[in-house]
Point group: C2
C-alpha cells in the first residue's frame, strides 16, 4: 500500500520529512500515482488529482494546512473517507500566534501612525492605553484563536472571544452565537478574525457588521479573504469607521495588482504568510494520524463535513 | 513637610494621581516651591530645579522614569540623599515588553521586506524559521530585559541574555561580563538593547561590536541612543553586516531633521515611545517608596551611584 503526496507547496520537503521518519513508506508524488488501487492515504494541498474516487481503497485524506474550505468544495470526495486537517502546535499554531501578536501590538501601539511620522520626519510623543485598558476581540475560538487569545491575555489585554457555541476563555470573556455577536463586536477595538471559511462565515464582515465595531477599530484578518466583503471594508475605511485593516488573506490570491487594498493608506497587505505549513514539524503529526486510522481510531482533527471545519 | 513635583511631562496627571491616593499630601509644582526647608521629597523628570542642595531636609529624589543617567550627571545631588528610579510592572515594564515583542516579531517575520513588497505590489511567499530556531539576544537582564526575555522564551524563541554579572535566565542562556560578550553577540540574530546608559555602556555598539554579530542581524535599541555609535551603525547597515535597525532612542532627541536615520531604508525610527511613564500606575509605587524612606527603610529601586543604575 502507498501514500499519495499531492501538494503544490514544499513537495520535496514533505517527501524528505516523511521518509526521514519512516524509510519503509512508499510515497508516490503526483502525477506518478502508479496503481490507484494501492493508494491508502492521500496527503494533499491544492491537489491536482482529478478524482479521489479513482482510489478505491483510500482510507484517509490529510489536508496539509489548517483550512479545508477549498477541499470540501470538491464533488469527488468519497463520503466514507475521513478528511483530516492539520493541527500543528509548533509549525502552524505558533507562527499564527506570532503574526497575531505582531499585528495586534502594532495596532495597539499605533504603528501605522508612527510609520507615517517617520516618512514625514515628525517627532511626537504618541501615547497609548495600557494593555489592560485595550479591548481585543478574537473572532473564532478554535485551535488558532484560543492560542492567540491566551497569549494576549498573558500580556494583560482585555480579551474577548467569540465562538459558535459557548466556550470558556480563561482570563477573558466568551461571547457565543449569532445573538451575542453584536455585543462582542461593539467592544472590539482591535478585532482579529480567525474563523474558518464556511457557508456561515462567508461575507460575515459586511457594512452592517463593520458598523457595530467601535469607531476607528482595527481589524486583522488572518483567516480567509471570503469572510470579508471588500467593498464594504473599503467604505468603512474611507468613512473612518475602521481605522486600519491588516489583511493576510484575500478573495483572490495573489491579490490582483489593480486591487485598491495594495495602495490604501489604511490597509496593510501581507501575502498569506501568517502561518505556513512546516513539513518538518507536521510530518510526524500526519504519520500519527495514519497510524490512528490503521488502528481503527479516528484522528483528533477529523473534519466535520456538516460544519465545514 | 511637602513634596516637590518637578517634571516636564504629565505634571497634571501626576498631581491628580498623587492627590487621589492621599489628599493630605502637600504637593508643590515647580516653580512654586515655597519654603525650600519644607521640601522632604522631590519627584522629578528632567527637573528645572537648579540646585537640589537648596533643600536642606530632602530625604529622597524619585526619578519618574527608568533611566537615571541624566539625573546622575548633575553636580548638585546631595550625597546622602537616595535616588530612586521608577520600576512599574504595569505602567513601564509591560509597555516595554510590548514594544520589544512587536519589534522582534516584525524582524523575525521579515516585516521590513513585507512592507517593501506591498509598496511594489509584489506577492511572494516569504518563509521564516520557527521561533525555536531563531536566536534572540537580550542585552541587559535588568527588570526590563528579564521580562522581555521571559516573554520571548514563552513564545519558544532561542533566547540568550547578557548581564554584567552571571544571572540565571530560566529557559534561556545567560552570558556574563566583558569576556562572554563576543560569544553572546555572535549568536544574536536579533539583538535587543535594554542596558542602562553608563560610563561602561556609552558607545558600546561600535564597528567592532557590530562585526561580531551574525551577518544581516537585526538590532532593536529601546534603551538609550548613547549606547550606539551612529556612524558605525550606518556603515554596518550599508555593508549589510546589520540588516535592519529599529531605534526608539537617539543621541539627540527629537532626532534632528537632517539625521540619516530618518530616511535610511533599513532603519525604523520611533520617537522614544517604547515605554512612557503612566502616572496612574506609578503614583502608588512612588508613595510606597516615600513610606519606606519615612519608616527608615531603603526602597527596592534605590540607584547605586557607582554602577549608575
Amino acid at each position: 500500500m502507498a501514500i499519495l503526496l499531492d501538494t503544490d507547496a514544499e513537495a520535496d520537503a514533505w517527501r524528505t520529512a516523511l521518509a526521514g521518519l519512516d524509510p519503509t513508506l512508499e510515497i508516490r508524488s503526483w502525477p506518478e500515482v502508479g496503481d490507484p488501487r494501492e493508494i491508502e492515504f492521500a496527503l494533499v494541498w491544492r491537489p491536482r488529482t482529478p478524482d479521489f474516487a479513482a482510489f478505491p481503497l483510500l482510507r484517509g485524506i490529510f489536508n496539509l494546512g489548517a483550512g479545508v474550505e477549498r477541499l470540501l468544495k470538491r464533488r469527488d470526495l468519497p463520503e466514507s473517507v475521513p478528511i483530516i486537517r492539520l493541527v500543528d502546535p509548533v509549525g502552524l499554531t505558533g507562527p499564527m500566534t506570532e503574526y497575531v501578536l505582531w499585528q495586534v501590538l502594532r495596532l495597539h501601539r499605533r504603528g501605522p501612525e508612527l510609520e507615517a511620522m517617520q516618512r514625514e520626519k515628525r517627532w511626537d510623543e504618541l501615547t497609548y492605553p495600557l494593555a489592560r485598558d485595550r479591548r481585543v476581540g478574537i473572532l473564532g475560538q478554535g485551535v488558532l484563536g484560543s492560542d492567540a487569545a491566551a497569549r494576549l491575555i498573558a500580556l494583560d489585554f482585555d480579551v474577548a472571544g467569540w465562538s459558535r457555541r459557548p466556550k470558556p476563555l480563561p482570563g477573558g470573556r466568551n461571547f457565543a452565537g449569532e445573538a451575542e455577536l453584536p455585543a462582542f463586536l461593539a467592544r472590539s477595538e482591535i478585532l482579529v478574525v480567525l474563523l474558518p471559511l464556511t457557508a456561515d462565515t462567508a461575507g460575515l464582515h459586511d457594512a452592517r457588521r463593520f458598523a457595530l465595531l467601535p469607531r476607528g477599530a482595527g481589524i486583522v484578518n488572518a483567516a480567509r479573504g471570503g469572510i470579508i466583503v471588500d467593498a464594504d471594508l473599503l467604505a468603512a475605511l474611507d468613512s473612518g469607521q475602521i481605522g486600519h485593516a491588516t489583511l493576510d488573506v484575500f478573495h483572490e490570491e495573489p491579490l490582483p495588482a489593480g486591487h485598491p487594498f495594495w495602495t490604501h493608506p489604511q490597509v496593510t497587505v501581507t501575502p498569506h504568510v501568517a502561518s505556513l505549513t512546516h513539513a518538518e514539524t507536521a510530518a510526524p503529526i500526519v504519520l500519527a494520524g495514519i497510524a490512528a486510522l490503521r488502528a481503527g481510531r479516528q484522528p483528533a482533527d477529523t473534519v466535520d463535513r456538516k460544519t465545514g471545519y
